[in-house]
Amino acid sequence: MITATTLITVPLIAGIVILIVPFAQRLAGYLALLVALGMVGAVAGFVYRFEPMAGYQFGDDAEWIPQLGIRWSVALDGVGLALAAVTALVVACAIGYGLWARRDRTHATFGLLLITEAFLFVVFAARDLFVFYVGFEGMLIPLLVLLAVWGGDERRKATVQVVAYTAFGTLLMLVAILWLGLTAPDGPDFSMAAAVGRGNDLVFWAFALAFAIKSPLFPFHGWVMPAYRQSSPEVAAVLSGVASKAGGFAFLAVLVPLFPEQSARYAWLFIALGLIGFLWGALLAFRQPDGRGVIAYSSIAQMSFVVLGIFLLNAQGSTGATFQMVNHALVSAALFLLAGWLESQAGSGDFRRLGGLARSRPILATVALVLGMAALAVPGSSVFASEFLILLAAFADAWWLGTIASLGIVLAAMYMLRWISAVLHEREGDLVGQLRPPDLRSGALLAVLPLALALIALSVAPAQLTERVDPSSQMMVAGAFADKEAR
């Protein structure tokens, strides 16, 4: 019987085995890819079997540390399943790309990516605060090692910054979790259900800070740029594509349901920060000199937009936020892989030295244009659908809020169009002239294509996702929504 526990243990054990057992390099890579594809299959099975109205499913609940009231309690609802599905897909594509790029030390890179995947599943499925913490903190270790060992020239600085930010946030959250779990009325109980509505303001802020850093939400984004710039493309794809979703997911699935009263009271602050981050990130993305910079700042902007959607505390906002997280995971992972491919082929991601790549490279031009169009939310695209939902929620809240948020979407169109034209069109850069980077083919194409296809599929049938997500996300914000209405 495949349950959420299987989803977690298989990549974890496979990751450790690949990390330790001295397989031949290529064999280790193919094994990792096989496991990652297996996870895609398993999640696809879950998506198929999922009953939207039945709440948490595919769960396991067993005693873990009874002395402390800690249970191994995992299950997926619509929101968790959507993010787990996109995680499985992104990790598989990242491993596929790494395999194509012939990374040295495949054991470590791919083993660690699989372990990251396992911890992300823990985050998305946790129904117990201790379990949640294990996932939230645990995913940091493999990602840090990947960044620290295989990153670019300034990887040391980047690593230290990531640690300083995220460790600080999560450890304060740990103290808050301890408080919640140990002061439960009927003896120690770390289950999320027992924590609903019991936290005070201090506990709320400890959680909020940890999630704001992870997301990242303006102004806690300082660690993001070095980390995204210094990682290898496949790690950056996982970092910005899915690891950052742990923060957004935690806002929606942990913070808001557990602290309905505080979430309603302080929603204005998160909305304000979300708006600032959305506009500010978009403006900076417009000013970046290279592809990775654009994608990284656009990630900050998009995650801020997601937080904005969550804290509107209504059904459209939360469903839209989840949808937007899925879309952004696909877009940013695909774009990071593509930008990484360009850098590795041309030797630089600098816009001034690229340009004119569309000429005689039809596949590259097509894929880049499809992704770019999706990212700037052309009507009909899935990103348009999710952004529309959030905007709808914003207008329902206040007309001026919707108006300002719409401004950010215009900015998004600007930076994406600039990226497309700088890379594909305009004058041929010196690198393009001399080196003649080839067209996007075979391995790299195969790694990016599934992400693009998933985006197209979601554009064609967005209801497949929203139908599954809506009941769950509505449940999550229900408490806070009632509190907000009562004000």
Binding site: A148, V149, V163, L171
Partner: protein
């Protein structure tokens, strides 16, 4: 005529095994002149196993006060006996990897057995006289062990420094016990407790006695302001001895401190509690900050062990059932991490033929994948990452603090842990620094298998303690009940 004291032989069988083992080792060694004396080490391992076996067999027996009421044999004593025997066994396995063991193995094993005897006795002491004699027994043994590598100036310096400073610590303790005797007319723990309960509050004799006894024990723990010896002694001592000190000495001294505070000094909590709070905070801060700037790995781990002592003091301050349970689990979790980490350093010292620094350890993780990975796990354990025993230890300590109104101490500990992550990360980064290349000099030298076995055992304990801590928490809880009940 002097009456023969009442002795329950079976109750002190573990100590007898250790002493008989030590004598046997020395006698056998006398007949092995000029030959391989590794056999002495094997005998020592057997003695530790027998001693630990006796303690395990007696687990759960009703408490006994024996040897003319000098010793109390209860669950707490049994727990320390088991832990110290385990530490001794692992230490001897590590020591076997040290070339000098061929000529001096028997003496090393015998002295280690004497030290272990002192440690188990101090945990069971029922009077300040026993406390002092046991303290001296293990301290003097450790002075010798620190100076054991006579060919190394650093080792001699370490032993001498420990001798001079350690003696001062012992004298302070005796002085304090004398004051308490003056105030209460007893050396027995219950007599002192009864006397202190009746003493007028704020009597200077009592205050002085309490502070001096505390100072003597804090010295052995390595807490501020008596921490100056720790870095020098840890750095200079043979690395297997350093591991033993970090693990076993800490267990013995902490349990002795906990017992003294819970039994004779319980009535004067108001006097010692504020002192310990200040000491704990200062120890955490100074230990962590000083560790940040160390380049010598042994020295860095010495400062980190100071910080760990500060964390343990939080549990001591909290006291009661939850605090004592947390303390015991934390100490038990710390032991395999410390012995394991120093065992890995032993391997590196052999490979590198020199001091282990951040510079000399560069890229070493690629050459010795198992040892490198193990060191990473131990360091993550020190740092308190999930799924390691170290995390559960910190979790329990911080939890007990939060539960009993000392949440701010838990926050101080959490912030200390954030700093901790930074310096552990420095080692991990160096260990897997791709840009450096270091050559293995003495790979495959004999005796390494035993070190690897020790590392594997420590690794198993650290991971088991993190993933399935239930049994450990139960055991710690049973032993802690002694402290919670007081008299």
């Amino acid at each position: 005529m002097i009456e023969a004291p009442n002795v329950v032989v079976l109750a002190i069988a573990p100590e007898i095994s250790l002493l008989v083992g030590a004598s046997l080792v020395l006698m056998v060694a006398a007949f092995l002149r000029g030959r391989d004396r590794g056999i002495g080490v094997l005998l020592g391992i057997a003695a530790f196993a027998v001693s630990g076996g006796f303690a395990i067999a007696a687990w759960g027996d009703p408490p006994v006060v024996t040897v003319a009421e000098a010793l109390q044999v209860d669950q707490l004593t049994q727990a320390v006996r088991i832990l110290v025997a385990g530490c001794g066994l692992l230490t001897l396995l590590v020591a076997l990897g040290w070339p000098r063991m061929r000529e001096a193995g028997a003496e090393y094993a015998a002295i280690l057995l004497f030290a272990a005897t002192g440690m188990t006795l101090i945990a069971g002491s029922n009077s300040f006289l026993t406390l002092f004699v046991a303290l001296e027994l293990f301290s003097i043994s450790l002075y010798v062990l620190c100076a054991f590598d006579r060919s190394s100036k650093a080792s001699l310096e370490s032993g001498f420094k420990y001798l001079v400073l350690g003696t001062i610590g012992s004298i302070i303790l005796v002085y304090g016990a004398a004051f308490l005797y003056g105030a209460t007319g007893s050396f027995q723990f219950d007599g002192v407790a009864a006397g202190l309960a009746e003493a007028e509050p704020g009597a200077w004799l009592v205050a002085l006695g309490v502070v001096l006894v505390l100072a003597g024990l804090l010295f052995k723990i390595g807490a501020l302001p008596f921490h100056m010896w720790v870095p020098d002694v840890y750095e200079g001592a043979p690395t297997s001895v350093t591991g033993f000190m970090a693990a076993a000495t800490k267990i013995a001294a902490f349990v002795a401190l906990a017992r003294v505070l819970a039994e004779p000094l319980a009535p004067v909590r108001d006097t010692w509690e504020p002192v310990l709070v200040v000491v704990a905070v200062a120890t955490i801060v100074v230990g962590n900050v000083a560790a940040l700037v160390q380049d010598n790995v042994k020295r860095m781990l010495a400062y980190s062990s100071i910080a760990a002592a500060g964390f343990g003091l939080i549990a001591i301050i909290v006291g009661g059932e939850a605090g004592s349970r947390a303390l015991l689990f934390y100490l038990a979790a710390y032991a395999p991490m410390a012995i394991g980490a120093f065992a890995v350093i032993t391997l590196h010292e052999r490979d590198h033929r020199g001091v282990t620094t951040l510079e000399s350890i560069r890229a070493w993780g690629f050459e010795r994948p198992f040892a490198g990975l193990a060191l990473v796990v131990f360091l993550l354990g020190f740092a308190g990452f999930p799924l390691t025993a170290g995390f559960l230890g910190k979790f329990l300590v911080a939890g007990s603090a939060v539960e009993s109104g000392w949440a701010w101490l838990a926050v101080v500990g959490a912030i200390g842990s954030v700093i901790g992550i930074a310096y552990y990360l420095r080692v991990i980064l160096a260990l897997y620094d791709r840009s450096a290349r270091s050559g293995v000099h003495a790979a495959g030298a004999p005796g390494l298998a035993s070190v690897s076995i020790a590392i594997a055992l420590c690794l198993a304990l650290v991971i088991a303690g993190g993933a399935l801590p239930g049994i450990g928490i139960d055991w710690a809880g049973e032993a802690a009940r002694v402290l919670a009940a007081g008299r």
